[in-house]
Amino acid sequence: MLDKAYYFIMVPMVYLAFAWCIVGITMKILGIFKAPPHPFTLRIFPDSKTPLFRAFLDTFTFPTIREHRPLLWVFLVLFHAAFAVLIIAHLDLIPQLRIASKDSPHMIGHGIVGLVLTVSVLYLLLRRFRSPVREFSVPSDYVLLLLLFLVFITGDVISWANSWSESGFVLTKQDFGKYLSGLVRFTFQDPSDALSGGHYSVVVAHVLLVNLFIMVLPFSKIMHSFFALPLNALRRIP
């Protein structure tokens, strides 16, 4: 029974989660861009000679946060930068997309990326419990951060604890490569064949949490990752 549940989480649920997410994001984007444009400018002055470039900078460097909340800015920069590296590092696990050395047993970042994400998301979660942020936070704010925290913690276990054995990695990068390669080729192969050993249950937990995160994403404020640029453009562009 447990084997079946593990298989469902590791294979069909991944597809379902991605399909759900893609449909959700598409509907969200269409919903926004099908709405009528605002009848007048919403820009704030002074004007910039390169408004699109400024909107781009606003989106990727968060200058207003740096000015008004420097500590939050540090954690947000760490979080976003590490998240970008994390996506690349996961793509690197797929043999067909490999960027790093083929024989390297380590994920890109050597586990440091996961630690940075864990610490920064913990900061983002804990600050929610302090006034005044606590007063206007809603359940989804906590749930999303908690979900991310658990995703990162299980990821850290896979990165770190998995390597603390006498013979090195219990589950190697190549093992994960086999699993992901099966997923992208729709082989529906049981991943437990490739990911054998005691750490498999941690991997399943990690994938389950990621599936949940991906399914929640289109209905959450994390959609700001798609809309931050158009939002900032409203403030800049005439």
Binding site: K28, G31, I32, F33, A35, P36, P37, H38, P39, F40, T41, L42, I44, F45, P46, D47, D58, F62, T64, I65, H68, R69, L72, S131, P132, V133, E135, F136, S137, V138, P139, S140, D141, V143, F219, K221, M223, H224, F227, A228, P230, L231, N232, L234, R235, R236
Partner: protein, 448 residues
């Protein structure tokens, strides 16, 4: 609230869901960076006055009625039912927001809480819960637009009564009259407020510059924008647009009224004429040498309050400063200033709505800012700001005098011989005629 009314209000809400509104309502991360942006929160640190919390009142309704997540799991983003109790909450946050949009400069996404509050205000109008004084004034403006022919004669008569006071400031004029009306093909259609303080200095300045101008029959202020009714806002602005097009003027110059400027410049589309503030016109006159100012007329340190609607939302930062620097060598900027300047706390119709106690408490941060400047004169270029700042200075027992930039300029105009002897000038007042004939003494007596 019955179902029929709820549906009506939700229809109003849906009608305001533009692409921008959806982006603003969907993407707040509640990071709290905007918290200290609001002058109300900075003066009275209560969470309900933060930009994020003001927006949350509307966002939670949006969640309930316009999002799938709100329909299937209302707890997720704390979606709420639209009912009378919630509308009371909406009222409290909507009509304590001056629409200064300072929070927009703090938000990492640039979310416009002012726009979200405009949806809130429309719902309140729909629920007949808006401040009635604002609606009444807006309706009077609309009605005046519809019946302008009936009021023209009375308006012309009233304006005629102001001419002597204009001549006291500047004893000769360029064209059709001291305060010309209905001038076809004028360079400037000046849109004043319903008060002589907005007409007399402006007329003196434009006459001194020998401008070919005309006074609008309509007052600039747009009460429709204050109350949050887009239809009335449009109707009020349209009166002026129609007049400007009928007279085929080159420029519509908006008096010292921030909302009027923003509505006309940025919210009514493109026109056959240019729209500028009176600050820009004065700066242009000074740059072109069409008027000269006597620095000895102003004593003491001057500072300038950037009205949110013409500065942060209109881009007019340097012109007023340039003008004031022609009036004094002791100009200091408030800190912070320009884009980061604190709102005076009187915008969004708050000055008209009363509740002086709230206005005074919520703008304490503004008072501290003025105090720190050490200024004797606090100049500004907006009627709302002027009224609020005057109340603030009195309430906090400060000696700083609040003045319009135009008033300071009009009082410092240098009357040059050349101007008075200029051919083509038409004398329309006996006092002015005497002055032009050399009776300087009488003019001086009139000028006091």
């Amino acid at each position: 609230m019955d179902e029929k009314q709820r549906e009506k209000l939700l229809e109003l809400f849906a009608g305001k869901l533009t692409r921008a509104a959806r982006l603003y309502l969907d993407n707040c991360t509640r990071c709290g960076v905007c918290v200290e942006a609001c002058h109300v929160y900075a003066s009275m640190p209560e969470t309900r006055y933060t930009a994020v919390n003001r927006a949350q009142n509307m966002r939670r309704l949006y969640e309930k009625y316009f999002k799938l997540s709100g329909k299937i799991a209302s707890w997720w983003n704390e979606a709420v039912e639209l009912d009378d109790a919630w509308m009371e909450k909406v009222y409290e946050t909507a009509y304590t927001c001056t629409g200064c949009r300072r929070c927009m400069t703090f938000c990492p996404f640039g979310i416009d809480t002012g726009l979200i509050q405009s949806i809130a205000k429309l719902l309140l109008v729909g629920a007949d819960m808006e401040p009635k004084v604002l609606t009444m004034l807006a309706n009077v403006s609309v009605s005046k637009g519809k019946n302008i022919e009936a009021t023209k004669a009375a308006f012309a008569e009233a304006v005629k009564g102001l001419e002597a006071e204009v001549i006291e400031k500047w004893q000769s004029e360029a064209g059709e009259g001291v305060i010309p009306l209905e001038v076809k093909g004028a360079n400037v259609l000046y849109v004043a407020l319903a008060g002589k303080h907005s007409i007399i200095p402006a007329a003196a300045i434009m006459n001194a510059a020998k401008e070919h101008w005309s006074l609008s029959y309509f007052e600039a202020v747009n009460f429709g924008a204050f109350v949050g009714n887009p239809e009335t806002t449009k109707q009020i602005a349209q009166r002026i647009i129609d007049e400007a097009e009928r007279l085929q003027v080159k420029e519509v110059v908006i008096c010292e009224c921030g909302t009027a400027y923003r509505v006309m410049k940025h919210m009514t589309g493109k026109h056959s004429f240019n729209v500028i503030t009176f600050m820009e016109l004065i700066a242009r006159y000074l740059q072109e040498g069409r008027i000269k100012l006597d620095k000895s007329k102003v004593t003491g340190r001057i500072t300038y309050h950037d009205p949110c609607q013409i500065a942060r939302q209109g881009g007019i930062y340097e012109e007023p400063r340039y003008v004031l620097q022609q009036l004094t060598d002791d100009f200091v900027d408030l800190q912070p200033n320009r884009r980061a300047n604190w709102c005076c706390g009187g915008g969004g119709g708050l000055v008209i709505m009363g509740d002086k106690d709230f206005r005074m408490k919520s703008a304490k941060v503004k008072v501290d800012q003025v105090k720190a400047s050490g200024a004797d004169i606090l100049a500004t270029a907006c009627e709302n700001c002027h009224s609020q700042l005057t109340d603030l200075m009195a309430h906090y027992k400060m000696d700083t005098k609040v003045q319009f930039v135009s008033g300071l300029v009009a009082d410092a105009l240098v009357q040059e011989q050349a101007a008075r002897k200029s051919p083509g000038l038409k004398v329309v007042d006996k006092a002015a005629a005497d002055a032009l004939n050399g009776s300087q003494g009488e003019l001086k007596r009139k000028a006091g």
